[in-house]
């Protein structure tokens, strides 16, 4: 069934159309969120929020952009909100720990293993995700959309509401930063193994 028919049906409150929409685009939404937040539970939570938002604001979708672009935009916004909430919580926990109010020990998050990575690249992919985690948010989003979702510069620029040249420069900076981070990581690892 065409996506336009599905959208029209959803606008009329058709539950079956909503189910088809969820089932068609759930992997795209979940995979994008997973690449950015690097946590399966959080990614699933974000994906649910995205589809609730789709259901509630489908009337605002006028069809000027592709439906997938609109979905990516909602996903990126929800993911950013999630990251901001997480950072706020972290800061609050830190302040609490300064006053001795929070006795919880802060743990480093475990290494993230993306289930879709081919077996012989699992180890290097985990190291790459560790470096991606340290990128500024806009570089992280552009890199994830381009490398993990395989979107071209034009598509990434539409999702991030910017121009193609600025996406090119954003990705160039992201790559340079990743190179620097990986260099530090491998040098430290090599020095540790030497001694």
């Amino acid at each position: 069934m065409s996506e336009w028919i599905l959208i029209e049906q959803l606008k009329q409150g058709d539950e079956a159309a909503f189910k088809t929409i969820v089932e068609t685009w759930q992997d795209m939404v979940y995979n994008t969120a997973l690449g950015i937040v690097q946590n399966p539970e959080d990614a699933e939570d974000i994906a649910q929020e995205v589809f609730v938002q789709v259901y509630e604001s489908i009337h605002s979708f006028k069809g000027e952009a592709k439906f997938s672009t609109w979905l990516y935009k909602i996903t990126v916004t929800k993911t950013m909100d999630h990251l901001r909430r997480k950072k706020r919580k972290k800061r609050f926990a830190f302040v609490q720990s300064l006053f001795g109010a929070n006795d919880e020990i802060a743990h480093d998050p475990p290494d993230f293993h993306h289930p879709g990575v081919v077996l012989d690249k699992k180890e290097t992919a985990t190291e790459l995700f560790k470096a991606i985690e340290q990128l500024p948010d806009n570089q992280k989003i552009a890199f994830t959309l381009n490398k993990l979702e395989g979107l071209n510069y034009q598509e990434v620029s539409e999702i991030m509401n910017t121009t193609v040249p600025s996406i090119e420069s954003l990705l160039h900076r992201a790559k340079n930063n990743l190179k620097k981070l990986l260099e530090i990581y491998y040098r430290e690892k090599y020095d540790q193994n030497k001694f």
């Binding site: 759930q26 879709g116 990575v117 040098r187």
Partner: protein, 113 residues
């Protein structure tokens, strides 16, 4: 570690997301979305049901009316002149009236004599 080796390793790491497969959420994803939608709707329904209660609605209307009345009275009292302004204006009116009346009367008397 040699520079060449390091560069090679970094390049391999950067390319490790090539041919990555897209992954999806758990098997009951749609059911969870539906449950979330229902939860959200129930929350709004609770809010609207609370507002629609006669006691709540009546109290809100009374509060709005009393606030409006208070604001109207406040505006009226601030727009009427203060006691000092009233006193000054009264005294100046009185003195002006007396002075002219007195001289007018005196002038009239002298003319008559």
């Amino acid at each position: 570690m040699k520079k060449h080796e390091l560069e090679k390793k970094i390049e391999a790491t950067l390319n490790s997301l090539e041919h990555v497969a897209r992954v999806g959420p758990g098997p009951f994803f749609y059911t969870q979305v539906q449950a979330r939608l229902r939860k959200d709707r129930t929350a709004w329904e609770k809010v609207s049901a609370f507002i629609a209660q006669p006691a709540v609605a009546f109290s809100v209307i009374c509060l709005v009316i009393s606030l409006n009345t208070f604001v109207i009275f406040q505006t009226e009292s601030s727009s009427s002149p203060s006691y000092t302004e009233q006193k000054n204006s009264f005294l100046s009116d009185e003195s002006d009236a007396d002075v002219f009346a007195f001289y007018d009367e005196e002038t009239n008397n002298t003319d008559a004599q």
